[in-house]
């Protein structure tokens, strides 16, 4: 089945380059250069044509902010949205991720990075009937949420309840960035969303138990200023 993508990007060169590359990858792609155009195309797709499978959304558009489209999409359904933005808008990225965006890419990015992000969001949201991710395997680490087991290189590792909850939250969104706020809220509770230092402590403990070289982690990755990402093997 061909995936339908909506690419919202105001820069013509980048829009055309991405369009060409994604066409080569076999995606069906529609492009919009402004917020109003994107809203019109999205609306038309929802009512008349086939809905989109993924939306690639630039933040700074000439006639408004990409977040307006995200809000509209999130009100109706869970079409995955990947935010594309410039480097200096970490605060805006976090806001959009907390508002429901699935992942983000900072310009400049490679085609490989974009395709990997698309694959990850499709794995999580591509099929609405698919159960939540409960199994994770990458390098020597295996996590099975159903049987509550964490194995490194074949032997079981003991985690404290908080460490396990933190890891489980990352496993459920494996490959995707999870913001500090989301992690704190889901693991500790609403009143702890400002306690970023808890994450630093527990992430350090998890790395020392799960990573081969905790100083150079390859699984529990940091997204500076945004959150954490559990690395998935790129198929």
């Amino acid at each position: 089945m061909t995936l339908r993508l909506l690419l919202v990007e105001d820069d013509r060169q980048l829009r055309n380059t991405l369009r060409q590359s994604l066409l080569v990858e076999g995606y069906e792609i529609l492009t919009a250069a402004s917020l109003s155009e994107a809203l019109a195309i999205y609306h038309q797709a929802q009512t008349v044509a086939k809905p989109f499978d993924i939306i690639l959304l630039d933040l700074g558009l000439p006639d408004g902010d990409g977040s307006d489209l995200l809000a509209k999409v999130r009100r109706k359904q869970s079409t995955p949205v990947i935010v594309i933005s410039a480097r200096d808008t970490e605060a805006a990225i976090v806001q959009l991720l907390d508002a429901g965006a699935d992942d983000y890419l900072v310009k400049p990015f490679t085609l490989g990075e974009l395709l990997a992000r698309i694959r990850v969001v499709m794995r999580h949201r591509g099929n609405h009937l698919q159960a939540a991710v409960t199994f994770y395997q990458c390098d020597s680490l295996t996590v099975d949420l159903l049987s509550h087991k964490v194995m490194v290189a074949g032997s079981q590792v003991h985690l404290t309840p908080t460490e396990y909850n933190l890891l489980a939250r990352l496993v459920r969104s494996s490959g995707q960035v999870v913001t500090h706020r989301q992690l704190l809220k889901d693991v500790w509770g609403d009143e702890f969303i400002e306690h970023t230092h808890y994450l630093r402590l527990y992430m350090g403990q998890l790395r020392s138990k799960l990573e081969m070289d905790p100083a150079e982690p390859v699984l529990l990755l940091t997204e500076p200023g945004v959150g954490y990402r559990l690395h998935v093997r790129d198929e």
């Binding site: 970490e90 230092h197 402590l201 790395r207 150079e216 982690p217 990755l221 940091t222 500076p224 200023g225």
Partner: protein, 485 residues
């Protein structure tokens, strides 16, 4: 000042009258033994000495009384105002005339001497004032002083206004309007000034050669002489204020020119730094476009890899410049949070490995480091810059990234085994647009690193020898947050 003056006048009267009393007593004591002519000379002497302290009219009056007493008691017939002999009458009249002339002359002389004394005192006062103004770093600081001097000179309330400052009497609405008018027009108003004579006060501008920098309100009427003296004090103040104002303007203009020059040099350095990667990208891309059929697969791959690497370099350069501009602007705050050094180092390594295929970068990370309060993106970028420089400027040898705690400071250090940096260059290294001989964008990068360290209340140091260089960022730790039990 007026009280002082009246005290002085009273003392003069008493002195003058005492002289007359002494003169009278002497004549009474020796009158019987002296001739009329001698007694007459004693009278002239008394008049002369007493005139030194008495006003002309009083002196002349005393002289007249003395002559009448002389006539009564010594000139025949004694005990009457009549005079028997013509020569005695002539003597008395001549004495009266001479006494009058002497009293007049001495009195005028004394007036002139007093005037010149006052004049000298005013000149001395002005000279001291000019010297104090000349020595003052901020003439505005002497406003209180001017207020005191004018108050003492004029004997009435004084109000002063200059830009951003006022002192002394708070003016009412009418006075404020008049003050503003005086300031704007740069002209004196009020009694003895020739303008708006009917005003109940005098307004003097603080006017320099070109600018009027304030105004003075003298809330009362003052004499012409006092007005002249007050104006002289105000003029000197105004000249000092103007001099200071012009110096400040000059300084500002100089700084603006320097800032502009810095900006131009900065832009020139940036465009130079952009050209090299752009040239690589253009040549690689045009090679792929034009020599497509002649290129084999490894060649094509190498060219595209060059393009990707140079684009990443451009990205880092752009980010450096953007963040440097942000750090330079005072109102931009750090996006700070509690960050772990392990997180930052781990993330930096992951990014740097892409250009470190030989794995020259090694890490020595102390365990259980305290958390840093800082901006993770800036700190990551700082380490990336230092590692990128080390990779770029040392062809071989290991590069070590160290992180450890030293007293209350976290040290993030990048050490290489390169040829080192010449001593003369080290001090110039951090200037925004200066690079070593090995040109290639380190200028902006290092200036950025130092700005990041300083934004975290830390510092960036460089140590270099023939065995290699060490760039060290020291960041003080803050009291740690509470952790869950």
């Amino acid at each position: 000042m007026n009280t002082l003056h009246s005290q002085k006048t009273r003392r003069s009267y008493w002195l003058g009258l005492s002289i007359w009393l002494i003169g009278g007593c002497l004549i009474r004591l020796f009158g019987d033994h002296l001739s009329l002519a001698n007694i007459g000379l004693l009278l002239v002497l008394t008049t002369t000495v007493a005139s030194l302290w008495l006003r002309f009219s009083l002196s002349f009056f005393c002289s007249l009384i003395a002559l009448m007493a002389f006539d009564w008691s010594l000139v025949p017939p004694v005990g009457a105002f009549t005079i028997d002999f013509h020569q005695d009458l002539i003597l008395l009249l001549v004495m009266l005339l001479v006494n009058g002339i002497i009293a007049g002359l001495v009195s005028r002389l004394r007036d002139q001497s007093e005037k010149s004394q006052l004049h000298a005192a005013a000149s001395e006062n002005l000279r001291n004032w000019v010297e104090r103004l000349r020595d003052a770093e901020q003439p505005e600081d002497l406003l209180e002083d001017l207020h005191r001097q004018l108050s003492s000179l004029a004997g009435v309330d004084i109000g002063l206004v200059v830009e951003n400052r006022a002192c002394g009497l708070v003016a009412n609405d009418e006075q404020r309007q008049a003050l503003m008018h005086c300031w704007k027009a740069g002209q004196a108003l009020g009694a003895n000034t020739g303008r708006y004579q009917e005003l109940g006060a005098v307004y003097l501008p603080l006017r320099g050669r070109q600018l009027t920098l304030g105004a003075v309100l003298i809330a009362g009427c003052i004499s012409h002489n006092v007005l002249i003296e007050a104006r002289a004090l105000c003029d000197q103040m105004a000249l000092a204020l103007e001099r200071n104002h012009i110096q400040k303007q000059e300084q500002l203009a100089r700084e603006q020119v320097q800032a502009q020059q810095l900006k131009n040099t900065f832009l020139a350095a940036i465009s130079h730094d952009y050209r090299t990667p752009l040239a690589t990208i253009l040549s690689a891309a045009s090679a792929i476009q034009q020599q497509d059929l002649n290129l084999n697969s490894p060649q094509r791959k190498e060219l595209t890899q060059n393009i990707i690497e140079e684009v990443e370099r451009l990205g880092r350069l752009t980010s450096n410049i953007l963040q440097l501009a942000r750090l330079d602007s005072t109102d931009e705050q750090l996006q700070a949070n509690w960050e772990s050094v392990e997180d930052i180092v781990g993330n930096v390594l992951r990014r740097m490995r892409q250009q470190d295929s030989n794995r020259r970068i090694q890490v020595e990370l102390q365990k259980n480091l305290p958390l840093l309060w800082g901006d993770p993106l800036l700190l990551s970028q700082l380490l990336e810059n230092l590692l990128d420089n080390a990779l770029r400027y040392t062809a071989e040898g290991l590069i070590t990234l160290k992180a450890y705690l030293d007293a209350e400071v976290i040290i993030l250090a990048v050490e290489d085994q390169g040829a080192g940096i010449p001593e003369a260059e080290i001090s110039r290294l951090f200037a925004v647009f200066q690079r070593g001989d090995h040109s290639g964008g380190a200028g902006v990068g290092l200036a950025f690193c130092r700005a990041v360290a300083q934004a975290h209340q830390g510092e960036l140091n460089v140590y270099s020898s023939a065995e290699g260089s060490r760039f060290e960022c020291c960041i003080p730790i803050k009291p740690q947050p509470e952790f869950p039990g």
